[in-house]
Symmetry: C2
Subunit: 340 residues, 2 copies
DNA sequence: TTGAAAGCGCTAACAA
DNA sequence: TTGTTAGCGCTTTCAA
């Protein structure tokens, strides 16, 4: 059996209230008694029971990170950022994989509330339209925007800016026929990246050709097949902006298989900067999302909500995406750089 | 404020013991009352308090996965296996990154005990010699062997077999001068893989050349530099068995940079089969560890320890590693395959 | 400086 | 079938 403060009280001959005070470093305990208690506690191998404490204090120093899939290369760094920041503040964090299933997400959210987590960081599954987490007691911060949901703090990256920068880079590098091969149609971030793409084309007076704008899934097969489709329909672009890195990797694979010379005749840019992208054998040009920082910021936001009783204060942190020019796009000649 | 069983009791006019019974589906509640209670609970938005329940039941339905770094491509799949299996059984899991630091590991283990997790899955940092988790109340299963520690269940892959298979594959493919570029000297799994390597050389009558056996760190820089060292000392091998995939990737990079033709003149095999390895642009031949399964099995073992009060029963599950022949090694001609 | 006692929300004996 | 009550391990008033 675990030793409790009562055991310590018995051993030391004081009341267990005093033991509690001593153990928690509260004032109003004679130095002698405190030392005695601490000593005895140590000797008996006392481990405070966080459950009991949580029951009375009404907080658990426990958080949760609810994401679609830790196996998706986009998430581990976020998770690490979350966990590092949380542990620094004395919080533990539950990891929950929803597997992109709204039902699983719903179930987790319920369980987590029952476990009385102090806060939740949530990357919702795209397809969640019913916002089942809207009647929440627990503070939550979102890891991406949900259309029409404004009641939560969130940390986001500026996807339209990212899409713009990506496309601009392609244009500056001299590519002329630039396709957008995106992911799911009803992903808000996908839509925003596409918007950035169109913005850039428009700004630099390139035609917007709808036949060059494809969508599919956020996996490499989708990227692969969409480029293939373009090639076989005789509509081969000379550059592709992929909706994310995984798609771009599929595009890269397809382009290589079809003997397209990269980056000379064919440019590819992705989005996210997942770890794969920087492998020497890949060297994918991409738009970086500051994943680790996103995790940290999410914790910051969550702490505001938890600590300051400002559950109502909604704050959005919008992070800037950055271009990582690598080897799947031509270098931009200095003199050709478009003024921005 | 959250609604409690007392609130429900008041509303329905029964005692709160009855409410508890009804809510937990315990027998001995008239069907009418049960329905009433359930109905009222639903209406009031009752959320059972798992903390309070945990306090009396003395379990929390909470587990922890303590690993060095979720950002390391070896771990996400394990984590997924753990989480999937755990959630199926109604458990939540804490994710803890020790960052390879024994101190952090120690701290987490302490916290987790205080939080009264029901069990822990631990991948210890290599360099932990003092086994600070030895005085544990909580069931733990280990994700790799620790020398001289036999008191815990563990799930392991047979590293010497893996090393043997890897080397055998290289030999069968016709490589003659096979180097082993490993990771940390004091990593047990590294030592075992090296042992398998030597075993294979011996068995197939190839000389064991200590100048071809290098160690370093478990990162790609280490692999890169160790091969470079070999090359510049005029001791270039015609194949390398990397202590893990990340090392092998570094080796691959170096080999490519130095114009070695892969796999014709130079073969590379790794260990782990991390996701990178199967990218079309990489196609690294490697020894697969069944990571997802390891996670699931770990949960199995943990459940035995938790449920059956067999905390003392120590069980090891030893998984078989498998060869994944891809493009960084020559194909093994059928007739040349060595009988095993 | 210390102790007695209530109570956090719940489960489970024991009685009725 | 239902209610009463003790108690899980702890914190925190209130009194002494």
């Amino acid at each position: 059996m675990q030793v409790t403060i009562k055991d310590i009280a018995k051993k030391t001959g004081v009341s267990y209230a005093t033991v509690s005070r001593a153990l928690n470093g509260r004032s109003g305990v004679k130095e002698d008694t405190r030392e005695l208690i601490l000593e005895v506690a140590r000797k008996m191998g006392y481990q405070p029971n966080a459950i009991a404490r949580g029951l009375v204090l009404k907080h658990t120093h426990t958080l949760a990170l609810v994401i679609p899939d830790i196996t998706n290369p986009f998430f581990p760094e976020i998770a690490r950022g979350v966990e590092d920041a949380a542990s620094l503040l004395g919080y533990s964090v539950f990891l929950c994989n929803t597997n992109w299933e709204a039902n699983k997400e719903k179930l987790y959210l319920k369980t987590l509330q029952e476990k009385r987590v102090d806060g939740i960081i949530l990357h919702p599954s795209h397809d969640v339209q019913d916002n089942h987490f809207l009647d929440f007691q627990v503070p939550v911060v979102l890891l991406n925007k949900i259309p029409n949901v404004v009641e939560y703090s969130s940390i986001e990256v500026d996807n339209v800016m990212g899409g713009f920068i990506a496309t601009k880079h392609l244009i500056e590098a001299g590519y002329k026929k630039i396709a957008f091969i995106g992911g799911s149609e009803n992903s808000p971030s996908n839509a925003e990246r596409k918007e950035g793409y169109k913005l850039a084309l428009r700004k630099y007076k390139l035609p917007i050709d709808e036949s060059l704008i494809l969508s599919g899934k956020f996996n490499s097969e989708s990227g692969y097949h969409n480029l293939k489709k373009l090639i076989y329909s005789g509509n081969t672009p000379d550059a592709v902006f992929g909706g994310n890195d995984v798609i771009a990797l599929g595009v890269l694979h397809c382009a290589q298989e079809h003997g397209l010379r990269i980056p000379e005749d064919f440019g590819i840019i992705g989005f996210d900067d997942i770890p794969y992208a920087s492998l020497p054998q890949i060297q994918l040009t991409t738009i970086e999302q500051p994943k680790y920082q996103m995790g940290r910021h999410a914790i910051e936001l969550l702490m505001r909500a938890i600590k300051e009783e400002k559950a109502d204060e909604v704050k959005r942190i919008i992070l800037e995406p950055k271009l990582k020019a690598r080897k799947t796009t031509r270098e931009v000649p200095n003199n050709k750089a478009i003024k921005y």
